[in-house]
């Protein structure tokens, strides 16, 4: 069915929530809106013509048929609403993306009822996303990946969603605008230019506490950004997994120190941020130690996914 343009927009604005909600959302009756679809209006018109025919030809069973179909439409309306009723959903963000990519938000949906939920149609409230269709068996929970284009650097908030259903008869569409709180960090769009010249230190592990990759230097608690390759699995196995995971640290190795400086980049603030982003990515990929210097803050040279993320986060959230 094609949706009428203006009323659709207007309705969306009218029924949209004002702010997002933290915590799981349960769709109760106040959250669910319902209106006839085009097919519903066609059905209604057909029933009216049939009623006129039944009256005109004095068909007792014709009356009965029209009235049965009227009841069918009404029962169908309630069932359409029920198809959304009681669903529980929550959203979570995901790993950061760079501007221009798609951020896949995870929406987890639980169907607590002993009946299946059929043909749930997911989209955003402004209906710019292609709708995603979903069926949830009784008592199941599923997770849905909703791709939202990440346009700008910074925090990407999950927009208000639109969950709609026409099942079973398609004569009515019930919809809700759940807006679970979730956000995703968007790094600036990288603009790749050659790395600025680095400063090779040439020293081999003489500075204490600086992590390298060659010599085992001890264990420390794992942080989310640590590579799984460095997890001390044997140590974890010894204490039956009751303690947090440890990672092995290393020191040593030839290193080159590189300062990625705001002043070394060119252009306006956004262009500089793009260049710096690309440099951070390149330097990390090249296995260099790099530091980032921005007006008002700086990160001393280091490397590793955690460092990379810290630098990129600062770039993403940089307030010009």
């Amino acid at each position: 069915m094609i949706h009428l343009r203006l009323p659709g927009r207007w309705l969306a604005r009218l029924t949209q929530p004002r702010r997002s909600e933290s915590g799981p959302i349960r769709l109760n009756r106040r959250r669910i809106y319902i209106l006839p679809t085009r097919a519903g209006f066609l059905y209604l018109a057909t029933l009216l013509i049939m009623l006129l025919g039944a009256i005109n030809y004095d068909l007792a069973l014709g009356h009965a048929l029209v009235f049965l179909l009227t009841g069918l439409g009404l029962a169908g309306m309630l069932h359409t609403q029920r198809n959304l009723l009681g669903l529980e959903l929550a959203a979570s963000g995901q790993e950061p993306v760079t501007a221009g990519e798609l951020a896949h938000f995870r929406i987890s949906v639980r169907n607590p009822a002993p009946r299946p939920r059929i043909s749930l149609e997911w989209s955003d409230a402004r209906r710019t996303l292609p709708p995603l269709l979903q069926h949830i068996p009784p008592g199941y929970s599923t997770t849905l990946q909703l791709p939202i284009p990440a346009v700008q650097r910074g925090w990407l908030e999950l927009p208000p969603l639109r969950l709609a259903s026409r099942y079973p008869l398609g004569l009515f569409e019930a919809w809700a605008h759940p807006w679970p709180e979730a956000r995703c960090l968007v790094y600036p769009r990288p603009h790749f230019t050659p790395l600025p010249p680095g400063l090779a230190t040439g020293s081999t592990g003489d500075r204490h506490g600086h992590e390298g990759q060659e010599d085992f230097a001890g264990l420390r608690e794992r942080q989310p950004a640590d590579s799984p390759r460095h997890i001390a699995w044997k140590a974890a196995a010894r204490d039956m997994g009751n303690r947090p995971l440890q990672v092995k640290t290393f020191s040593g190795g030839a290193r080159e120190e590189l300062w990625l400086d705001w002043d070394a980049a060119h252009g306006d603030a956004e262009q500089r941020l793009s260049q710096l982003t690309a440099w951070v990515m390149d330097a990390e990929a090249a296995g260099l130690d790099y530091g980032l210097r921005l007006p008002g803050c700086q990160f001393p040279p280091a490397r590793g996914p955690a460092h990379r993320h810290r630098c990129l986060e600062a770039l993403a959230l940089y307030a010009a």
Binding site: N56, A60, F67, L74, A75, L78, P112, I118, S141, L169
Partner: protein, 651 residues
Amino acid sequence: MARTSAPLHHAHLPWLLLVALLTTLPHSRYQPLWLTAVAGLVLLGVAWQWRQGYQVARNWLKLLLVMAGCAGILLHYKTLFGRDAGVAMLVLFMALKLLELKHRRDAIVLVTLGYFLLLTHYFYSQSIPTGLWLLGTTLVITACLIHLHGAPQASPRTSLATSGKLLLQALPFMVLLYLLFPRITGPLWGLPQDAHAGRTGLSDTMSPGNISELAQSGEIALRAFFNGPVPPPEQRYWRGPVLDSYDGRTWRTGRSENRAPGLEHTGPALHYTLTLEAHNQRWLLPLEMPASLPDPPGLEARIDSNGLVQARNPLKSRQRVEFTSSPDYRMGVMESPQVLWRNLQLPEGFNPRTLALGRSWQQRHPQPRQRVQAALDHFRQEPFIYTLRPPFLGQQAMDEFLFNTRRGFCEHYASAFVILMRAAGVPARVVTGYQGGEINPVDGFLVVRQSDAHAWAEVWLEGQGWVRVDPTAAISPARIETGIASALPEGEPLPMLVDARLDWLLSMRNQWEAINNRWNQLVLGYNPERQRELFARLGFQDADWKTMGTALGISMGTLLLLLAAWVFRPVRENDPALAIWRRAIRHLERRGIACPPWETPLALARRLEQEAPELAPAVAELAQLVTTARYHPGSPRMEPLRLALKRLLRR
């Protein structure tokens, strides 16, 4: 942003084919053969395509089929509108819509057309079997609609079950609307010519063969229910058209004045309700002779000078009317000389021998009463035979009948008798109607069939007025006393259901007709008048539109709320372990601990070790039990879980 409709899934096609088949198939009985052939070929073609890979038909092909179909319908029916042509158009469109199924939108149009086609079946029959067949078809069409909106891989069983559930929930609405929706007496606009084609019944003319033809139909003409004793068979004369003008072959209704026939009732009155089948004529067929006329609005029943009761408009649908009649009456004692003169007229040059016989009685018997008796004696003494298959009669029909063939049905005897009387100088006329009827022991209704169609005579005697004389009774008394089935010799072409010689068949027929009668009386016969009665019984005297609308609105709203309360009833958690866990979660959330739904019980317990150490042991215990209960094979014991929950809630 305009979005196109969802594309149609391959799995929807058999459903749509089934809908098209079920809604068009019953029409093949009424529509031209070529249309059935075209629709059948299209259906077969699409079914073949379903296996091979469906493709929308080319535009030129569709256009060609539409043009050819419309042209065919125009040629056959001489119009594109009207009832039958309209139905034929719908059948054509239904078949052709199958050729262009691209989107769900197309399928929805097809389904809607299917619902509409259901209605058109009622033009032809509103019997119980039709009703059941159409209820089944509604189930299938609705299942198709559900399948279109659900998962394409859903099994037919699921769709049909959902459809059945929805229809069951729709039933109370149907009953309520049927009873309370303000009924309007149709028609709203001029009906097409063919709206009520093909109704059987008496006509306003009679020539030899008319009634014997009608008598071969077992169809029901009317049903009567008496409040009190049922009159004996010889008094069951249901008066129809009075024929007083004869042209040598055919009897017709002559002139009649719009005034009462001068009736005096001398006996007790019988009250009864007549249910007349639609016969597309104006007469009402009361028992002879009516003392009071029915007065439902819109009917405007009148009695004319010949004693014929007529409504204002032809009876296009089954009609229930209440009458009072008295079998003991005197009619037209003071009949005007002009009318008597008219009832003595005979055409010149026809039936000379019959006229001569009549005249001889006039000379021999001075009293008109004696002449009547002479005629009846003549019929009784000569070897006349009562039969449904009289031989063909030529130009001098009555002469041949009276003096050569001597085999005839009631119309022959009535006609011959009236001619003899007129020739003998006694004013006489033919009355047609029904005679007899049979009581259905199941529901006590007196059933009168087309096979009870009858013709008798009335003669006017000084001081007595119009007196009924039934010459058939003189030849075959059994016809009047026990009905046509026992009066006819073996081997006569009686409809099987009228044949009283098959006992088991008779009792089955009685059962079935009693059910049909209840159906007709209660369901089909529900009309504006009955609706007013219902409202009066509910305490609303003279309910107008406003009252009815309000009553309907309030009761529909209540019903919708009740259904909503049932549909939206809170669902019990179907997993008891999960139900217990959810109570624990609610408890934790009340204490300010966020519990996102994706967190497993064990993960939550581990998180609480740091966030809320005082609760952690109790949660950990419960989490362990819940997890075991949910994932352990077999049905777990719930008691430990309940205890663990209690311990947690106490914290």
